[in-house]
């Protein structure tokens, strides 16, 4: 690791790997960092060791990551794995922590490619041990071959069906799939169907998963209301309302999922402007066609700026890399433009299906804005929806005051699993759009940092005597 790089990239998912490969091929001095020990990001996790013997379990889309990872491995970017970036200042001073030691370095250009996380699913009981995200089930499967028999999958969205299908392929019995997709979504998605037809094969793939799940004899129930998980010290059952009748399914493991949302904390703490996307119900980075943010030298690529999926992320990574190369005088304008053209076209094509998916799998209000006052919204500080509503009625103008009043968002996750719900709760109570509210103010360190690491910061301590 050096003190300075032409281009620093955070995240080795498809966006980051693509950006690093392009940038180093054109002679830039590139640093790429990820907190995971291996490349691949969320989708291609474990792609370099591919430990699962039966390749039909994860499917072709997963193994597509191989060529990307190979190209990246052949590049001469400086890859630092197992290291967390806890700060990117507006001056592009980067704080990195690895093996219990923190360092500062700088870069002319920074590409933030921190990807997505799963959307919070605040329902009663979602904090019980045994309740995990569906993504967790997939991570355990991809990297350790661990699965849980007779688990319940609940929620909505392609990823939920994909992971359940991967379980099916792996021969793991599933207790039930509880689909929370609101029935009314279909009608609302209809106008977006023409765009989606450009991706007929993707739609067919999704249908195949659902068909396979249904015909496998797995309990597959649609139109679920009032989902809740019950149990004393761990998960015992999942309960729901169907046609005005309560039902109960016993299970020790429940996997929840209702879509993914950008992982915005690092970019927000760097001062990058974000706006509320009402179609996708989450924050989006406000960037230009190159992914450049309002902060000079900082751009955002991949799902971290807005959900577009792995293929789109790869194109966005390339585009951001060419722009960074151009800005640092590594390629000429002409070269940049001819090189990005195919990526831009492909990206436009890739994005055509999104409005349809967003409308079709828009999570129901009841699962984003808890109706039951006792439901925990902030997992870290155990702040309930009722407590939040009470503080709003006391005059809390936005999430920052609310944080002061309730400690909501003050814990180690730094709002990652509550701030979307909080924003929507406040907006609803004040009858305004989320865009009219302030955003939760985030500051570095965006991930917890040991006090000793901060005390022993290398470059600073040596300069600062």
């Amino acid at each position: 690791m050096k003190d300075h790089y032409d281009i620093a990239i955070i995240g080795t998912g498809p966006a980051g790997m693509a950006a690093a490969t392009v940038a180093s091929a054109h002679g830039a001095d590139v640093l790429i960092v990820d907190e995971q020990p291996e490349v691949g990001g969320q989708i291609y996790r474990g792609i370099t060791h591919q430990s699962i013997k039966d390749k039909t379990i994860l499917g072709d889309d997963y193994y597509k990551g191989q060529s990307l990872a190979d190209a990246f491995a052949a590049s001469n970017a400086d890859h630092v794995s197992g290291a967390t970036i806890w700060q990117v200042s507006p001056e592009r001073e980067i704080g990195i922590s690895k093996d219990g030691a923190a360092h500062l370095l700088t870069a002319d250009q920074v590409i933030i490619a921190t990807g997505a996380q799963e959307r919070p699913f605040p329902i009663p009981g979602w904090t019980l041990p045994g309740v995990m995200t569906a993504g967790s089930a997939q991570i355990l499967l991809k990297s350790s071959g661990i699965t849980f028999s007779n688990a319940v999958f609940a929620g909505t969205g392609p990823l939920l069906y994909l992971i359940a299908y991967q379980y099916l392929k792996a021969g793991v019995p599933i207790r039930a799939i509880l689909d929370t997709t609101p029935k009314s979504n279909r009608l609302k998605a209809l106008p977006h169907l023409p765009g989606a037809l450009f991706h007929l094969s993707s739609i067919m793939k999704g249908r195949k998963w659902i068909k396979a799940l249904k015909s496998s004899g797995t309990l597959f129930i649609e139109g679920i209301d009032n989902l809740k998980i019950t149990g004393k010290d761990s998960t015992e059952a999942i309960e729901y309302l169907l046609q005005n009748k309560w039902h109960r399914i016993e299970a020790s493991n429940v996997f929840l999922h209702q879509g993914v949302v950008p992982n915005v904390n690092l970019a927000m703490a760097s001062g990058c402007i974000h706006h509320w996307n009402e179609q996708k119900l989450c924050w989006h980075a406000s960037t230009d066609e190159w992914g450049s943010s309002n902060v000079p030298g900082i751009s955002i690529a991949g799902d971290g700026g807005g959900i577009g999926g792995a293929i789109a992320a790869e194109y966005q990574g390339r585009i951001a890399a060419y722009q960074a190369l151009y800005t640092t005088n590594k390629v000429k304008k002409q070269e940049r433009d001819t090189n990005v053209l195919p990526a831009q076209h492909a990206l436009t094509h890739e994005m055509r299906i999104r409005p349809f998916l967003d409308a079709m799998f828009r999570p129901a209000t009841q699962y984003r804005i808890p109706t039951d006052d006792a439901t925990i919204v902030c997992r870290c500080e155990e702040v309930t929806a009722g407590k939040i509503r009470e503080s709003i009625s006391l005059g809390c103008a936005g999430p920052n005051q609310l944080k002061g009043f309730t400690r909501c968002g003050m814990g180690p996750c730094q709002g990652r699993f509550c701030s979307l719900s909080v924003s929507e709760l406040i907006a609803k109570a004040q009858n305004v759009s989320v865009n009219e509210l302030e955003q939760l103010r985030l500051r570095p360190p965006v991930k917890p940092l040991m006090l000793a690491e901060l005390a022993n910061l290398t470059t600073l301590a040596s300069e600062d005597t």
């Binding site: 809390c396 002061g404 180690p412 730094q414 500051r443 570095p444 901060l454």
Partner: protein
């Protein structure tokens, strides 16, 4: 036009809320007009000390005013808890400042002697490392010691703010947030505060708008010089309790997190973070308590303190427009009791007492005349 409120308080931070609480409690119908969610609010970056041992060393009126507030803090805390059930976390176990080396130790002793010369109630004790370590498990064997004073304490500033707001409201007070005041007009015996949410009329107007006070004060014939002073705070994950008393730069909250703070830097209106300063704060914390090195910082904060030219609070009433008051200070927690229990009486009487004369603005004019 008849004023709708007996008093309007501009600013819903710790100072404004304490004043409004007191005014409403004294029977005045009171309105708080507050800025939005991201106001430059010192309250949120506050450290929570109810602190005596470093206040007014060179200015006895401030030392006495601080003491008066500290001595009545328990009543404020009780009042809030009676009205709302909220525990504002007030404890008065004494407090200490750690001196890492002999030089700091000697300097601290010198200062405390000076403080005691005009404030004999500050019965401080200079303790060596060994005696200090008995009070503070985990204290590094390498520090020189420090100063302990039994009259220091702390509170949870966020609970205090919530407690003040909630009790103010339950006594009938009105809070209008997201309504920053952009103009004030005085008409004879009343004032009109103009906001984007409309105009509000009051018989009195009290400016406690922190850094925004200066601008508004000009509109009612006062000059209240304030400037921002950035303070940064590091907050660790929750830890099992180990600090029985608050220290001037380290405090463990009731929830268990350890706050490390107190940096001073003039950064204008920038509330960004400065890594060199955080680095220095971390070095000092680990120097004092090596076991903290292995704990994680989960948050860092920076907020703007409200500084006056000499660092002491300002209380003022407009000569041109009686009924218009201003109050600014940087120790809104320590002085909360004085603001809630004392100042409202003066506002109602319509005159600031002679005891507060040294904290009015003509002290700056005198200095000017000197220069």
């Amino acid at each position: 036009m008849s004023p709708a409120y007996d008093s309007i308080v501009v600013g819903g931070g710790l100072v404004g809320s304490a004043l409004a609480f007191g005014l409403q409690r004294e029977g005045l119908s009171t309105l708080i007009l507050d800025e939005g969610d991201l106001a430059f609010r010192a309250t949120r970056g506050n450290f929570g000390l109810v602190w005596v041992q470093s206040k007014g060393i060179d200015y006895s009126p401030y030392a006495h005013w601080t003491w008066e507030s500290a001595e009545t803090w328990a009543s404020l805390s009780n009042l809030i808890s009676e009205i709302t059930g909220i525990d504002v976390g007030y404890r008065r176990p004494g407090g200490a400042e750690i001196c890492v080396d002999d030089k700091e130790f000697a300097a601290k002793r010198q200062k405390m002697k000076k403080l005691q010369s005009h404030s004999p109630h500050v019965k401080f004790e200079m303790l060596d490392q060994k005696s200090m370590a008995e009070l503070l498990p985990g204290l590094s064997p390498d520090v020189a010691g420090g100063c302990y004073f039994s009259g220091d304490g702390h509170a949870n500033p966020l609970n205090l703010l919530r407690g003040l707001h909630q009790s103010f409201k339950s006594m009938g007070g009105v809070i209008n947030s997201n309504a920053p005041v952009n103009d004030i007009v005085s008409q004879g015996s009343s004032f009109t505060a103009k906001t984007k949410k409309g105009q509000f009329h009051g018989a009195r107007i009290i400016l406690a708008a922190g850094l925004g006070t200066q601008n508004l004060a000009n509109k009612v014939g006062m000059d209240i010089p304030v400037h921002p002073d950035r303070g940064q705070i590091l907050v660790t994950e929750r830890l099992k309790p180990f600090l029985t008393i608050p220290l001037s730069k380290i405090r463990q909250t009731i929830e268990g997190s350890v706050q490390i703070g107190d940096s001073h830097e003039d950064a204008g209106l920038d509330v960004g973070m400065s890594t060199p300063i955080l680095n220095k704060m971390a070095i000092r914390a680990v120097q004092m308590f090596p076991h903290l090195g292995n704990t994680r910082i989960v948050r860092a904060w920076s907020a703007l303190r409200i500084m006056t030219p000499d660092g002491y609070p300002i209380y003022e009433q407009s000569e041109q427009h009686p009924g218009a008051f201003a109050a600014v200070c940087h120790s809104g927690v320590t002085l909360a009791a004085a603001h809630a229990l004392q100042v409202p009486k003066y506002i109602i009487e319509g005159t600031l007492p002679t005891s507060l004369a040294p904290l009015r603005t003509n002290r700056f004019k005198k200095e000017m005349a000197h220069a």
